[in-house]
């Protein structure tokens, strides 16, 4: 391995963790971070949660203090965008015209919100939430608004709905599918979340599509749905999923396809280029097919995996995926990838708002969704890391099952 620089494109969660992990692993080569945003690397999860109420201030989002980069000898080129990779010359060109040579390149370009394609989508007051700048715009918009429309019943939209209700807005969620978070969680959990949101006074409209937004003086006012209904909206939050940022990789002829395609060591089709975080599609021992995951856990663990590889400790990426969301005061945590399950067993009490849905496929535990039951979540993470060691659906279904005492429970 050479001694040239490691260039990391992204300066988001994955990029920062990779730079920090390289230094923590004793890597002494130059490390250069290139980020299109001007803000220092920050945490995104609070943007759809406490940040919107003003309880968290921007400086509390920074992942490291400003002194970190100088102290760790990491060059951070912020507010500049990588626009071209010349693989023959091992060089990245930035929007500013700057060219930087790499020995190893790590792509951590993240993802961007999918855009709404209805008339009126570009009216003022229509916000997609991805960056700190978006969150700031939304925070201000919510302060003056009476009616919020959330398009898409996914994580981010539902988190915003919950915060906005707390701020006293009238909130409507429109979801085109029959279930909230339908692609990622069990029916039990999505039904529970719909109940929680409705109990807080949010209007949850399922099987309904937005067809147009209408405004006054350039600002959104009304939404039209496919059943002809009209919904008042001073602010519209678009939460209809994200698309991986693959343009840079595609331009450099790296293999892409809903993500930058990497192997289990997170290498792209070019051995000196890696891809991590939201933009990477990788083979996982926890799923049948290669996946792309949008979570802090994945960004952070993949960053560490690549940093280890670059310091001579190559290991495949096998981390157990997990995710959390906070809605309506409930702590919701997911361990494993549960979407392809064929059987679920509920442990605990949905009525009391404390339960876990254990999800199985072909008799094997694939993951657990927990609501205010973090012990189930944490122990599932350990079990999955060890190959889900024999926990059967019937074990969970047994009265009095408590995963904290499994497998030592009397039968």
């Amino acid at each position: 391995m050479g001694t040239g620089p490691v260039v990391i494109v992204g300066a988001g969660h994955a990029a920062l963790e990779a730079a920090a992990a390289l230094r923590a692993e004793g890597h002494t080569r130059p490390v250069i971070l290139v980020g299109a945003e001007t803000a220092p690397p920050y945490a995104r999860p609070p943007l759809s949660k406490d940040y919107l109420t003003g309880r968290i201030r921007p400086h509390e989002l920074w992942l490291r203090p400003r002194s970190f980069f100088a102290e760790q000898h990491i060059t951070a080129m912020l507010g500049d965008r990588a626009v071209e990779i010349d693989r023959d010359a091992s060089r990245v060109r930035l929007a500013s015209g700057e060219r930087i040579t790499y020995d190893r390149l790590i792509l951590a370009t993240g993802s961007r919100p999918r855009r709404l394609s209805v008339p009126g989508a570009d009216l003022e007051g229509v916000v997609a939430l991805r960056s700190l700048a978006d969150a700031e715009e939304l925070r201000c918009a919510l302060r003056d608004a009476g009616d919020l429309l959330v398009v898409g019943g996914g994580f981010i939209g539902l988190e915003v709905a919950s915060v906005a209700r707390g701020l006293g807005l009238r909130v409507t969620v429109v979801e085109s599918g029959p279930h909230l978070m339908g692609r990622s969680v069990s029916r039990t959990l999505s039904a529970h979340l719909a109940t929680l949101h409705r109990a807080e006074g949010t209007r949850v409209l399922l099987n309904r599509e937005l067809v147009a937004l209408r405004g006054e003086r350039g600002h959104v006012r009304v939404a039209e749905l496919n059943n002809g209904a009209r919904v008042a909206a001073d602010v519209v939050v678009v939460g209809i999923g994200v698309l991986p940022n693959t343009a840079l990789a595609a331009q450099a002829d790296l293999t892409t396809g809903d993500g930058v395609i990497v192997d289990r060591w997170l290498r792209t089709s070019d051995r000196s280029v890696y891809a991590i975080g939201d933009c990477a599609r990788f083979p996982s021992p926890h799923t049948a097919r290669p996946v792309r995951l949008e979570s802090v856990q994945n960004a952070s663990d993949q960053a560490r995996c690549v940093a280890a590889a670059l310091t001579g400790h190559r290991r495949p990426y096998i981390s157990v995926p997990w995710f959390w969301t906070e809605q309506c005061g409930a702590r919701v945590q997911m361990a494993g990838i549960t979407r392809d399950h064929d059987r679920t067993v509920v442990s605990g009490s949905p009525a009391e708002g404390r339960f876990s849905v254990f999800c199985f496929r072909g008799g094997r535990l694939v993951g657990t969704e927990s609501v205010n039951r973090s012990a189930d979540h944490m122990i599932t993470r350990r079990l999955l890391a060890n190959g889900a060691a024999g926990l059967a659906a019937d074990d969970v279904a047994r009265p009095g099952f408590d995963i904290r005492r499994w497998p030592a429970q009397p039968i």
């Binding site: 920090a20 203090p65 970190f68 802090v296 952070s300 973090s374 012990a375 944490m378």
Partner: protein, 107 residues
């Protein structure tokens, strides 16, 4: 301000001054102390900010709430009676001199 000592698994120590209203977790992040991962950023969801409070501690620490207790059930390094989530330990003058021991692994 409080002086906090982070003792690494190899016995070496990092001593830093941390200002209120940070947490013991944030104090580690702000000072680039390896061994605290803090994936969830301090919302008691991830268990990757696990520490052991020094056995001889007499400083007042907040009681453990249920969510913290639950998360500590599955930390990467073994749970001990002295285990806490460092993101749930607010820094104030009352804990000046606190010593925490970092576990061998957080992930």
């Amino acid at each position: 301000m409080a002086k906090i000592t982070y003792q690494h698994p190899d016995g070496t120590e990092t001593v830093v001054e941390v200002a209120a209203p940070n947490t013991v977790m944030r104090g580690a992040k702000l000072n680039n102390i390896e061994g605290i991962v803090a994936q969830c950023g301090g919302s008691a969801q991830c268990g990757t900010c696990h520490v052991y409070i020094d056995e001889g501690n007499t400083l007042p620490l907040p009681e453990m709430h249920e969510a913290e207790d639950d998360v500590l059930c599955g930390t990467a390094a073994e749970r001990r009676p002295t285990s806490r989530l460092s993101c749930q330990l607010p820094v104030s003058e009352a804990i000046d001199g606190l010593i925490v021991h970092l576990p061998t692994t957080q992930i």
